[in-house]
């Protein structure tokens, strides 16, 4: 039996960082606003597929490399990578540009996904519609060859290649690439995390919870709930799109089925429910716990293969289903339950008003 080593730890950290972006933004849509968003994998896919589609072609155009991109993708991306390896500035610029565009692509899909809500769809209808749209989106990405090479997939240029020329703190140069991924996702996570946490603590967060608990009531008090839904969906889809792009850069390869509904919709749902709704601490704990569990199953796959009379791949889905059902039956409020919002007393409000004057 192997013991998880440093490689395992680094991969685990990268997964946790990237999935925290997804779960924190998912918590904003499902935990705070109560949108049963079962099409979230679509946003991650938008970011990831954009990484397969755009940066390679862009760099090939800049460098003047001729030839059909899909047919010769491996050789073209090899040349692009060689160029990026010598140009740190170009790499960083490319990375930032694609992350921004991934956010835009995600935001566009978020707008699309909030359209059914504007038509007055809620709950089951909304969940089913978004799920079906997501399955359609993924199928098109998988079968439509000009996008990202169809079922075979396509390599993604590596904007972290230049880091392998340097060595820091005794880390071997070959692993410096992963350090780059960790730093990039860490920066994105800081921004996203700061945004999501401060939204949760702000009046906006309380308004979102109010809309979740009583939509008609919030409307009666003069809040435009439709506008809120559109805003929340757009912002949180944009964040998830960035996470998808980071994941594609980390993997270095994109296939249409990579951003599937189980990995990028149902695991985030489970994470948010296990951690506790509308609660960033719970989401962080849930993400860390569930991602560690998933990585451990993958790590011990070869050992489990001898014990189990089936392929250990299915164990992951099996556990996901069990976790979802058991948590909903026995502890629906999650590990850390949502704290009730305690309103200020009349005197305190008057005091604040006095100070403002």
């Amino acid at each position: 039996m192997m013991v998880p080593g440093l490689d395992f730890l680094v991969t685990l950290i990268i997964y946790i960082l990237i999935f925290l972006i997804v779960t924190l933004s998912y918590n904003m849509a499902y935990g705070y606003t109560g949108v049963p968003d079962f099409g979230r994998a679509m946003a991650a896919g938008a970011g990831g597929f954009l990484c397969g589609y755009l940066p390679g072609r862009l760099m090939a155009f800049v460098l003047g490399i001729q030839g059909d991109y899909i047919e010769n993708s491996i050789s073209i991306v090899g040349k692009v990578n060689a160029f990026l390896g010598d140009n740190p500035l170009m790499s960083i610029a490319l990375l930032m540009l694609t992350l921004l565009l991934a956010a835009l692509a995600g935001a566009a899909l978020g707008l699309l996904a909030s359209l059914p809500m504007l038509r007055g769809l809620r709950l089951f209808y909304l969940g089913v519609t978004l799920l079906a749209i997501q399955i359609g989106f993924n199928t098109i990405a998988y079968y439509w060859k000009p996008l990202i090479g169809g079922p075979l997939g396509i390599p993604v240029p590596d904007p972290f290649r230049w880091l392998t020329h340097y060595s820091l703190l005794g880390i071997p140069p070959a692993s410096m690439r992963l350090v780059g991924v960790i730093i990039a996702s860490g920066i994105v996570l800081l921004i996203v995390g700061y945004y999501c946490i401060s939204v949760g603590k702000s009046p906006l967060g309380r308004l979102l919870k109010a809309v979740r608990d009583d939509e008609k009531g919030a409307e009666a008090l003069g809040r435009d709930t439709r506008k809120l839904y559109v805003k929340v969906m757009t912002v949180s889809y944009a964040f998830t799109g960035v996470a998808g792009a980071l994941f594609a850069y980390y993997g270095g390869y994109v296939v249409g089925l990579q951003f599937d509904k189980v990995g990028w919709t149902f695991w985030p749902v489970a994470t948010v429910i296990v951690g506790g709704l509308a609660n960033y601490k719970g989401t962080i704990i849930g993400t860390a716990a569930l991602i560690t569990l998933r990585r451990l199953i993958l790590f011990y796959k070869s050992d489990l293969e001898f014990i189990l009379p089936f392929s250990p791949v299915w164990l992951e889905d099996f556990i996901l289903g069990i976790v979802l059902m058991l948590v909903l039956i026995y502890r629906p409020q999650g590990i850390l339950p949502e704290k009730p919002e305690i309103p200020l007393s009349r005197e305190e409000i008057e005091e604040i008003k006095e100070k403002r004057r």
Partner: protein
């Protein structure tokens, strides 16, 4: 050998029967027990594997296994009711939580079916993925057996459900339960038993439909991933209200999806074939945006009156009797 009707149309009708049965099951569980069931297509996959097991291990034929699928699927439905739905409702779960629970159930069942398929492959060295059961089919007078049997089963089930819901006390009580559970309980209806019966049907119908799938199409433990879009599209088109709307919705989706895609494949090219269920998706989105209440919510009475008025005005103008 000759075909009485074209194989394309025959396949389309079989597909429509499968989708319609699943749509009826999904509509039953939502309209009577108020549980949105995401796992409905996976119940169909359970049917596929029950019949696969019956044929390969017990030497039972393809169509006799329909009986075991009906019972087996029903038992699975009842187990799910007692282990998942009832505890959740006792605890006062919201509809949202019930929805996510059935989503978890769907993933769990797909994983379980995969594990079962792996187990059979590892232990008995038989092929449990990418299989068809077409060799067990028969032909009768130029018609494929699966067409005859699936039509027969579908209409028998539809008529049986119609009789149950209109003639028996149980069916009427079930309708009442769907309308207002609290009031039904006040009137002395045993809601627990009725929910159990509903879940028996909700499990049995898709499992029965599942038998017909591998006769024409390649089957895996994961076929439900693609069937589920068509099933929900037909439910949304029907309006999630009555079994008749679900059946009509299922037929419309099943026939359009198969026929339109094969027509387009002839015109544009065969590359379009994998996008088949996008037709269902488009119909569903159109329904959601144009008439969210589905076929059930359309003002049929007004429309019929309008058409009658047009005829009357024509008759008056042309002085016909």
């Amino acid at each position: 050998m000759y075909d009485l009707i074209s194989p394309l149309l025959s396949n389309a009708i079989v597909f429509a029967n499968i989708i319609a049965l699943m749509a009826i099951s999904s509509t039953l569980s939502l309209s009577i027990t108020n549980v949105p069931n995401f796992a409905v297509a996976t119940f169909g996959t359970i049917g596929i594997y029950i019949s696969f097991t019956c044929i390969n291990f017990f030497g039972i034929g393809l169509y006799p296994s329909l009986f075991f699928c009906f019972i087996g699927g029903g038992v699975v439905g009842v187990i799910i009711y007692y282990l998942l739905v009832r505890p959740l409702r006792r605890r006062g779960a919201t509809r949202e939580q019930l929805m996510i629970a059935t989503l978890g159930l769907d993933i769990f069942l797909i994983a379980l079916l995969n594990i079962y398929a792996d187990y059979l492959t590892y232990t008995f060295k038989i092929r449990t993925r990418e299989f068809t059961l077409g060799v067990h089919d028969f032909t009768l007078g130029g018609l494929k057996g699966v067409l005859i049997i699936s039509l027969l089963v579908f209409f028998c089930i539809l008529i049986a459900l119609h009789l149950i819901f209109t003639r028996t006390n149980v069916g009427i009580a079930m309708k009442a339960l769907g309308e207002d559970p609290v009031l039904a309980e006040c009137e002395g209806v045993d809601t627990d038993r009725l929910c159990m019966i509903t879940w028996f049907l909700a499990g049995a119908l898709p499992a029965t439909a599942g038998v017909f799938y591998p006769v024409n199409w390649i089957s895996n433990p994961t076929v439900s991933l693609y069937l589920v879009v068509s099933v929900f599209a037909s439910c949304v088109l029907g309006g999630f209200a009555t079994i008749y709307d679900a059946a009509v919705g299922g037929y419309i989706i099943g026939l359009t999806q198969t026929l339109l895609i094969s027509y387009l494949a002839g015109v544009i090219g065969s590359w379009i074939l994998p996008y088949g269920f996008l037709v269902a998706l488009l119909i569903m989105i159109a329904t959601v945006f144009l008439f969210p209440q589905g076929l059930y919510g359309l003002p049929w009475g007004e429309m019929i009156n309008k058409i009658r008025n047009i005829f009357t005005s024509i008759r008056v103008r042309w002085r016909l009797k």
